[in-house]
Amino acid sequence: MAFKYRQAFFENGDIIDARDWNRNVAEFADELNGYLDRDNLPPVAFTHEHIKTKAFNEFYSSIANTTAEHRTINGNITTWQSESDAGLGFGALTFASDTDALAVVEWSGSWNWAPTHVDYQWRGVSGYAKNTLEYYVKYRLIVDGMVVTTVPNSVWTRAFDSGYMCAAIPLPAGNHKVDIEVRIRSKDGGPAYQDIVLMERELICWLRKR
């Protein structure tokens, strides 16, 4: 409640002292210097017509929802990978912000373990002897080179799986890049020998300007 109330009372017969005036004026001056809020404005005082497009928020997104955009990631590599086996990116976002902003970034996607090495392919059948190697895939979200969040390990038994990760990070004005990275490993840190096919996915960045 941003209403303000006078703090000094005076009446006829009182000697005039500027401090009485100042005390009351200061009470309101404080409020005008940044504390006005919804209680001070009549309903619908501001509408979208008063506000320039993208004054407060901007959205950037990268969506991949066709088969041609699927990316196969090499399961023989154990380090973080930022592009596919064919050298294609995962759909990074690059943009320039003209002010400081809070970036709310989120990524969701689905993937499939590609049966590239039959010895280590898992089958949910009791007594199947070949699923001895435990492996997993992990994703992380990168903003300007910083890791801001990760998806928990997705294990080999989940042949088809999906993940979601989001984070909020303050950004200065300037150029920025948002991307994901993928790492496939076996439990002991070695290769998984199984590729991942990264399928439908979407990367969104919501820039909340200050």
């Binding site: 109330y5 000697i15 209680d39």
Partner: protein
């Protein structure tokens, strides 16, 4: 300078009320409508005015064209509870109140001066307007609706109505009152008969691909609200049994119950296969996860519409085991709530229990999370307040501390059984002092660090010297008392019911910077808050729905009390004792050190020897300025013009000495003297005063100030 030898008693600095029979001269028997200021004096105190100004509305019908002075709160019924909280790091503030008409409203200043509130709405859009949705009002003294905040939301509970949590948009029920309904599994058939649906994919399916061996499962369900709070789990479902083949699994269908309207998702839990090689598992086997009565997370149905799910998740893909000891319903009838270390504590049920939530889950109350606080001898639990490193639990006669933290566990310990709290709304933290609370025998302070380090923890009585005032209190309605801390004035404001009514009308003010008391009358305070923002206003809700309905804000800027009562500041000293009963004095004059406010008079009268009547039938009075001063005043001065040959300008308030020549010779020898100063209109500021007297022989006057303690602090 006096022409005859006199004794002079200097009374400085002026301190607060002390109603002992023999109190120090610089204390007062009564201070009305005054405030202590840091320049060390007592000035006129605040008044109050409705939160929004009155406005003129045009009449209707035959009175069309007339203008009526109207206020948004003219038709407001009694305000029975008042709450304040903010969201978005203080950018959005909410003031919420309940009325005796069963309404629940939030202040909306954008429509001022008319219609300055919105009714809160529930999830279905029904308004808490006393008709669509209503709140219970008890006219008899009872604990008012209490509130606490968690995660940017405010929780409101009164033990009678459904507890609600307001998130800025809607008032939702808190947690779940009961466990979820029971699931009902079955094997999915294409027909009504034996043509079951099966799945042959190696990676999915329920049970083992074993021909003729029995497979079996049970399910449990929980409800989840939009804040992620989970209900108690349902009773286990009937078991479902079926057989698979060597190449395919059957697909069970599970009928799941629909939750209440605040349910946004349902969680399904399932056992592992209860059969191994066709034999029923009765305990733990070689697979240490296997148990016939353990339930693992299966899936979350993120709606409250679906009634059947098909189950194709193999045992290996189930999630973590369901720990039912960490689930529980919101305690029925809880009237008190507090948040301590990310945990919500509830009390005020019909028992001596304090229940506490699962940490970080403010609406989930596992049945084992409870403390038994004291026994029935100490009365009910009356209040809870989180402060420093403990949650303080008050009973009618007893104070307990709950300490610890969620990771290492909480524990309770008894602090004292000598004092307790009678009014939960009286508890407030006094800056630099401790926790003030009202009990039947007065106002107490819980001071110290509440731990084994730092200042020792102790309970001290703050109102020791106010026996007459506390005699006036209506003890049976003490629960109606409420308090707020006015940080601008350095006052703890305590509204108390007197014997004439259960509704509070008297205010006691504790000036915590000097540890002194004053009082005031005609404050219809039913509930009170101090806004938690930089403004720090004290706002109260009125119980007087006839003369002073609505919400009022306290300020020294107002001329009066709601336009109905005057602010009438007065300072009445103690009975200043001049020594032995056989010695006497003759008062000659009072010299009052006051702030020179102008032509509005300061008044003076006095009593001697504790007689009932004052010396003068009409108070003596004098301008609050030097007689020869000719300073610009309101009502007379126009800037740009001249006063006595000088251009009009601002002046300054400054200390002046106002002299009252008096005589009490017609009352005989004077042993004791009590003086009262008051303001003719509104403004007054007393710094100190002196009493000139004839005492002893004229050639050897007695040094009164030294002999009778007129200077120096009382305590």
């Amino acid at each position: 300078m006096s022409t005859i030898p006199v004794s002079r008693l200097k009374v400085h600095p002026l301190r607060g009320m002390d109603q002992r029979w023999r109190a120090a001269p610089n204390s007062a028997q009564e201070i009305q409508d005054m405030t202590w200021v840091e320049q060390d004096g007592w000035t006129d105190g605040p008044g109050y005015r409705t939160l929004v100004k009155s406005y003129y509305s045009v009449g209707s019908g035959q009175e069309l064209g007339t203008e009526n002075l109207t206020n948004a709160f003219d038709d407001e019924s009694k305000i029975i509870s008042l709450h304040w909280f903010s969201q978005h790091t203080g950018a959005v503030q909410w003031m919420i109140w309940e009325t005796s008409d069963g309404e629940l409203k939030a202040f909306n200043g954008s429509k001022a001066p008319e219609g300055v509130y919105n009714y809160l709405r529930d999830r279905d859009g029904a308004q808490f307007n006393g008709t669509d949705r209503t709140r219970t009002y008890n006219s008899t003294p009872t604990v008012r609706t209490q509130s606490f905040t968690y995660g940017g939301r405010i929780y409101l509970l009164n033990g009678k109505d459904e507890p609600v949590v307001f998130d800025g948009r809607k008032a939702d029920p808190c947690g779940f009152g009961t466990q979820a309904g029971q699931a009902s599994p079955d094997v999915l058939d294409k027909t009504e008969g034996s043509d079951a649906i099966t799945v042959s994919d190696d990676r999915i399916g329920v049970g083992y691909k074993e021909a003729d061996n029995t497979q079996g499962y049970r399910y449990k369900v929980t409800f989840v609200n939009e804040r992620g709070q989970e209900s108690e789990a349902s009773f286990r479902s009937e078991s479902i049994t079926f057989t698979n083949t060597d190449s395919s699994n059957k697909v069970p269908a599970v009928r799941i119950p629909i939750g209440p309207s605040n349910c946004v998702a349902r969680r399904i839990y399932r056992t592992l296969n209860m059969y191994i090689s066709g034999e029923l598992v009765t305990g733990y086997g070689s697979d240490t996860r296997t148990s016939a009565d353990e339930y693992y997370f299966h899936s979350e149905i993120q709606d409250n519409v679906s009634q059947v799910i098909t189950d194709i998740i193999p045992d290996a893909l189930l999630g973590t085991v369901l720990d039912e000891t960490q689930l529980g319903s919101w305690p029925f009838n809880a009237t008190l709530g507090a948040v301590f270390k990310n945990t919500v504590f509830l009390a005020g049920m019909m028992t001596n229990e304090v229940r506490f939530s699962k940490p970080m889950h403010p609406e989930v109350f596992p049945s084992g999370n409870l403390f038994q606080i004291g026994d029935s001898v100490q009365g009910p639990i009356t209040a809870m307040y989180p402060t420093k490193n403990a949650l303080v639990v008050f009973k009618q006669l007893g104070i307990y501390l709950i300490k610890g933290d969620p990771s290492n566990g909480f524990y309770a310990q008894t602090l004292t059984l000598d004092a307790g709290c009678s009014a939960p709304d009286s508890i407030k933290e006094l800056p630099g002092l401790g926790l003030a609370f009202l009990s039947e025998s007065g106002l107490f302070l819980l001071e110290g660090a509440l731990t084994n380090t730092g200042n020792p923890t102790s309970v001290v009585k703050l109102s020791s010297y106010l026996p007459d005032l506390f005699d006036r209190i209506n003890k049976s309605a003490l629960v109606n008392a409420s308090a707020a801390v006015d940080r601008k004035s350095g006052e703890y404001i305590l509204a108390l019911p007197t014997r004439s009514s259960p509704d509070p009308s008297m205010v006691l003010k504790y000036h915590y910077n000097i540890g002194e008391w004053s009082t005031s009358e005609n404050w219809p305070i039913n509930c009170m808050i101090a806004t938690g923002d930089h403004r720090g206003y004290v706002i109260f809700g009125s119980h007087d729905d006839t003369t002073l309905p609505g919400l009022f804000v306290i300020s020294k800027g107002w001329p009066d009390k709601g336009g109905v009562y005057n602010v009438e500041p007065s300072y009445t000293s103690t009975h200043i004792d001049f020594g032995h009963v056989y010695s006497s004095v003759h008062p000659l004059r009072f010299l009052v050190y006051a702030i020179g406010y102008g032509n509005n008079d300061i008044k003076c009268n006095f009593k001697v020897n504790r007689q009932l009547d004052s010396i003068y039938a009409i108070d003596k009075s004098h301008d609050q300025r030097y007689s020869l001063d000719n300073l610009p005043m309101y009502g007379e001065t126009k800037f740009g013009e001249f006063i006595n040959g000088e251009e009009a300008r601002f002046s300054e308030h400054r200390p002046v000495v106002v002299r009252f020549d008096v005589s009490a010779s017609h009352k005989g020898p004077v042993h004791e003297l009590q003086v009262t100063y008051s303001a003719e209109k509104r403004r007054i500021a007393l710094l100190s005063y002196e009493v000139d007297l004839k005492s002893g022989t004229q050639t050897a006057p007695s040094p009164m100030t030294l002999n009778y303690g007129g200077t120096g602090s009382k305590r």
